[in-house]
C-alpha cells in the first residue's frame, strides 16, 4: 500500500500542470470548468426547448398527433438503458477514485456497450420514421387521424417532427462523442494514467455522460408522452 501510494503520487505530480499550485487546485479548477461547460450545453439545448415550448403551446393538437407515432416501448427501453449506463459510469468513476483501474475499465466498457445499445435502438426508431415519411422536408407525409383540421395539423406535425429530429439528433451526437471519450478513458486507465490522486478526466467525462442522460430524461416525456396513446 505504502509503495503504491508513492507511485501514485509520482503519477499525480507528472499530471500537475505548471500553472497550478497543487493537485487540489488543479482538480477543483478542472471540475468547475466542466460544470461551466455543461452550463453552456444546457443553454445550447435551451434554444430547442424554447422552440418546443412555443410550438407545443400553439399547436398542441398537432403535437399530440405527432407523438402518437412514437414507439413508447422503444423510448422507455432506451431511457432504462441510459439509466443503467449512468450507474456503470458512476461506479466506474468510483473505481477510479479507489485506485482500481481494471475494475474501472470493465465498468466503462459496459457503459460503452449500453451507449451502443441506446444508439442501436435509436437507429431502429429512426428507420421506422424514415420509412413512414416522418422526416421533415419534401418527402414528409402525414395522415392526420383527426378529420376536423387535416391540412394544418399535417403541416404543424411536420414542425413537431423537425424538433424531434433536431433534439434527438443532437442528443445522439452527444452520445457518440461520449462513447469516444469513455473509450479514451478505458485505454488511458489501463495504461495507468489515473490514480486516487489524479482522476480529473474520469470525473469530467462522467459528468458529461450523466448530463447526456439528463437531457434524455427530459426529451423522453416531452416527445413521447405528450398524451395518452390512441387505442393503446
Amino acid at each position: 500500500m505504502a509503495t503504491s501510494d508513492i507511485g501514485d503520487i509520482q503519477v499525480a505530480e507528472r499530471a500537475l500542470q505548471h500553472h497550478f499550485a497543487d493537485m487540489e487546485q488543479q482538480r477543483e479548477t478542472s471540475s468547475f470548468g466542466m460544470w461551466m461547460f455543461l452550463l453552456t450545453e444546457i443553454m445550447f439545448f435551451s434554444g430547442l426547448f424554447c422552440a418546443y415550448l412555443v410550438y407545443r403551446a400553439s399547436y398542441y393538437h398537432a403535437f399530440v398527433e405527432g407523438s402518437q407515432k412514437m414507439n413508447i416501448t422503444l423510448g422507455a427501453t432506451n431511457t432504462a438503458v441510459l439509466i443503467c449506463s449512468s450507474l456503470t459510469m458512476a461506479l466506474g468513476v468510483r473505481a477510479a477514485q479507489m485506485g482500481k483501474p481494471k475494475l474501472m475499465a470493465i465498468l466503462l466498457l459496459i457503459t460503452i456497450l449500453f451507449g451502443f445499445g441506446f444508439l442501436g435502438i435509436k437507429a431502429v426508431e429512426y428507420h421506422e420514421h424514415w420509412v413512414n415519411h416522418e422526416f421533415p422536408g419534401p418527402n414528409f407525409h402525414f395522415e392526420t387521424g383527426d378529420p376536423a383540421h387535416p391540412a394544418t395539423d399535417a403541416q404543424h406535425t411536420e414542425i413537431y417532427f423537425s424538433l424531434y429530429w433536431a433534439m434527438t439528433g443532437l442528443h445522439a451526437l452527444h452520445m457518440v462523442i461520449g462513447i469516444g471519450l469513455v473509450a479514451w478513458l478505458v485505454i488511458a486507465g489501463l495504461m495507468g494514467a489515473y490514480t486516487p490522486h489524479y482522476y480529473n478526466p474520469v470525473e469530467n467525462v462522467g459528468l458529461y455522460w450523466h448530463f447526456v442522460d439528463l437531457v434524455w430524461i427530459y426529451l423522453f416525456p416531452m416527445l413521447y408522452l405528450i398524451s395518452k396513446k390512441h387505442g393503446g
Binding site: 500542470q17 403541416q155 414542425i159 423537425s162 424538433l163 433536431a166
Partner: protein, 543 residues
C-alpha cells in the same frame, strides 16, 4: 515580488523561443493574445473597408457606385465581420487574455490549451465566413432574419452561419476560461474586493458569453438546417413563426452588445484611476454595476422587436426592463467622473481616448433610452437614428476603449513606447472624425431616412456628404496608430516595467513579462488602485 530592475537581455515571453511553431502551438496566454491581436486587426481593416465602401456609395443620392444587391452584401459583411469577428473578441480576447492572468497574479489562464483552441476556432470561423463572402457574399444583414435568410435569399447564408457558429464556440471557451481563472487562480490576498475593475468587467462579459452564445449557436444551426432540408421551424408558410427566430437571436445578440461594451468599461476604469492618480470612486458600485448590466442585459431583448408584431403587453414589459439598464450604466459614468474630481489628471493618449469614451458612450447610452421607449421607437425604428445610436456605443464607446487600452498596455505587451505626439493627434482625429461621421446620422434618422438602402432622396445629401467626410477623417485616425505601433516595435523607446507609475500586479513584472509572468507568486496586501500610497512620481513618458 518581481523587481523593477530591467536588464537588457532579460528573458521574456517574446524572446523565450522563436519560430512559427513556437507561436502556433503556444499555450502562453500572452502569445495567444498577440495572435488574437493580429487576427482581429486584419478583420477590423476588412470590416472597415466595407464601411468605407458603404459611405462612398452614400456620397450621392443615386445608387451609382454599387448596385443595390452589392450594397446589401456590403452592409451585411460589414456587420458580420465587425460584430462577430472584431467587437466581441476585441478587448476580451486581446487585452483580457493578456491581462487577466497578470492582474490576478496567476501564471496563466486556468485552461491554457483550451485558450489556444479558442483561437483556432476563431480562425476556423473567420475563414469559413470569409469563404462564404468571397464566393458570393451574404445579403441578409448581420441579423439573418427569417424567413428571408432561410427561404428567399440566394446568397451563401449557410457558410456565414456556420462561420459564426464556430466562432461562437471560441467566444464560449474564452468566457469559460475567464470565469474559472478569476474564481480559482487568484494569487494569495487577491480578494474579490481587491480585484481590478478590468477583471470584474471581463468576468461580467464572460458570464454573458457563456450563457448567451450557445443560444445563438443553436439558432444559427436551425437556420442552416432549415435552409438545407426545408424544415419549417421558422418558415410561416410551413406554420413556423419567424418571430421565434428573432426571440432566440436577440436573447444572445442583445446581451452581446454588453459583451462588447463591458470589457471596454473595464479598460476605462483602469485608465481613469491611473491618470487621475486616485482610487476608484465607489469601487464596489462600479464592480457590481458590471454584474448588474450582465444580468439585466438578458431581460430586455425584445426591444429590438417592438414593431415586428410581438404582443404589445410583452413590449410594455420589455420597454420598462430596458430602462433599467440605464441605471448601472449611469452609475459607472458618474463614478468615473467622480474619480476624476480633484484628481491630478495627466492628459496622456490613453486618457484622451478615455475622455472620448465617456462622452460618446453617454450620448450612445442616452439615445438608447429614446429607443427603448415604445412610442419613439416606432418613429425611428430601422432608420439611421438606430445606426447612429449603436455606433456611438460600439465605435465611440467600444473601439475608443479598445484603442485606449492598446495604448495604455502597449508598453507592457511589447516593452516599447509609442510616439506620444502622434498618438495624441490620432486620438483627436478619431474623436473629430467619429462625431462628424455619426452625428449627422441621428438627424437623418430622425427625419426618417431608413437604413439599408443604397439610394436616398436628394434632400438628405448634405448630411450624407458630411458623414462620408467624417469617415475619411476617422480612417486616417485609425491608420496612424497602425503605423506608429509597428514603428515603435523597432524604434520605440524602452518602456521599463511601469511607464505610467501605475498600481496593479501587471505593472510589477517586467515589460514584456516573462513567460511565467512573475518570478515568484505575488502576495497581495493592498487595496485596488492604491494610488494615495503610490510614490507620487511624475509620469515621465511623453511630456
Amino acid at each position: 515580488m518581481a523587481t523593477a530592475v530591467q536588464t537588457v537581455e532579460r528573458e521574456n515571453y517574446l524572446n523565450s523561443n522563436y519560430g512559427i511553431k513556437s507561436w502556433l502551438l503556444t499555450t502562453d496566454h500572452k502569445r495567444i493574445a498577440v495572435l488574437y491581436l493580429i487576427s482581429i486587426t486584419a478583420m477590423f481593416w476588412l470590416g472597415g473597408f466595407f464601411a468605407m465602401m458603404i459611405r462612398l456609395e452614400l456620397l450621392t443620392p443615386a445608387g451609382d457606385l454599387v448596385s443595390s444587391d452589392t450594397y446589401n452584401k456590403l452592409f451585411t459583411m460589414h456587420g458580420i465581420i465587425m460584430v462577430f469577428f472584431f467587437l466581441i473578441p476585441s478587448v476580451p480576447a486581446v487585452l483580457g487574455n493578456f491581462l487577466v492572468p497578470l492582474m490576478v497574479g496567476a501564471k496563466d489562464l486556468a485552461f491554457p490549451r483550451v485558450n489556444l483552441l479558442s483561437w483556432y476556432l476563431y480562425m476556423a470561423g473567420a475563414i469559413t465566413a470569409l469563404t462564404a463572402m468571397v464566393t458570393g457574399g451574404v445579403d441578409t444583414g448581420w441579423t439573418f432574419y427569417t424567413p428571408f435568410s432561410t427561404t428567399y435569399s440566394n446568397t451563401h447564408v449557410i457558410g456565414a452561419a456556420i462561420g459564426i457558429f464556430i466562432a461562437g464556440f471560441s467566444s464560449i471557451l474564452t468566457g469559460l476560461n475567464f470565469i474559472v481563472t478569476i474564481h480559482r487562480m487568484r494569487a494569495p490576498g487577491m480578494t474579490w474586493r481587491r480585484l481590478p475593475l478590468f477583471c470584474w468587467s471581463n468576468y461580467a462579459a464572460a458570464v454573458i458569453m457563456v450563457l448567451g452564445t450557445p443560444v445563438i449557436a443553436i439558432t444559427l444551426l436551425l437556420v442552416a438546417l432549415e435552409r438545407a432540408f426545408n424544415i419549417g421551424v421558422f418558415n410561416p408558410q410551413l406554420g413556423g413563426d419567424p418571430l421565434l427566430f428573432q426571440h432566440l437571436f436577440w436573447f444572445y445578440s442583445h446581451p452581446a452588445v454588453y459583451i462588447m461594451i463591458l470589457p471596454g468599461m473595464g479598460v476605462i476604469s483602469e485608465i481613469v484611476c491611473c491618470f487621475s492618480r486616485k482610487r476608484a470612486f465607489g469601487y464596489e458600485f462600479i464592480a457590481l454595476a458590471s454584474i448588474a448590466i450582465a444580468v439585466l442585459g438578458f431581460l430586455v431583448w425584445a426591444h429590438h422587436m417592438f414593431v415586428a408584431g410581438i404582443s404589445v403587453y410583452a413590449a410594455l414589459v420589455f420597454s420598462l426592463l430596458s430602462y433599467l439598464v440605464a441605471i448601472p450604466s449611469a452609475v459607472k459614468v458618474f463614478n468615473w467622473t467622480a474619480t476624476m474630481y480633484k484628481g491630478s489628471i495627466s492628459y496622456n493618449t490613453p486618457m484622451l481616448y478615455a475622455f472620448g469614451f465617456i462622452g460618446l458612450f453617454t450620448v450612445g447610452g442616452l439615445t438608447g433610452i429614446f429607443l427603448s421607449s415604445l412610442g419613439l421607437d416606432v418613429h425611428v425604428h430601422d432608420t439611421y437614428f438606430v445606426i447612429a445610436h449603436f455606433h456611438y456605443v460600439m465605435v465611440g464607446g467600444m473601439v475608443m476603449a479598445y484603442m485606449a487600452g492598446l495604448h495604455f498596455w502597449w508598453p507592457k505587451i511589447t516593452g516599447k513606447m509609442y510616439p506620444e505626439a502622434w498618438a495624441k493627434l490620432s486620438a483627436l482625429l478619431v474623436f473629430v472624425g467619429f462625431n462628424t461621421t455619426f452625428f449627422p446620422l441621428f438627424i437623418l434618422g430622425y427625419m426618417g431616412s431608413p437604413r439599408r438602402y443604397h439610394a436616398y432622396p436628394p434632400e438628405f445629401q448634405v448630411l450624407n456628404v458630411l458623414s462620408t467626410a467624417g469617415a475619411s477623417i476617422l480612417a486616417v485616425g485609425y491608420v496612424l496608430p497602425m503605423i506608429y505601433f509597428v514603428w515603435s516595435l523597432r524604434y520605440g523607446a524602452d518602456a521599463g516595467p511601469n511607464p505610467w507609475n501605475a498600481v496593479g500586479l501587471e505593472w510589477m513584472t517586467s515589460s514584456p513579462p516573462p513567460t511565467h509572468n512573475f518570478d515568484e507568486t505575488p502576495v497581495v496586501t493592498w487595496e485596488a488602485y492604491d494610488y494615495e500610497h503610490q510614490p507620487q512620481e511624475e509620469i515621465t513618458v511623453g511630456h
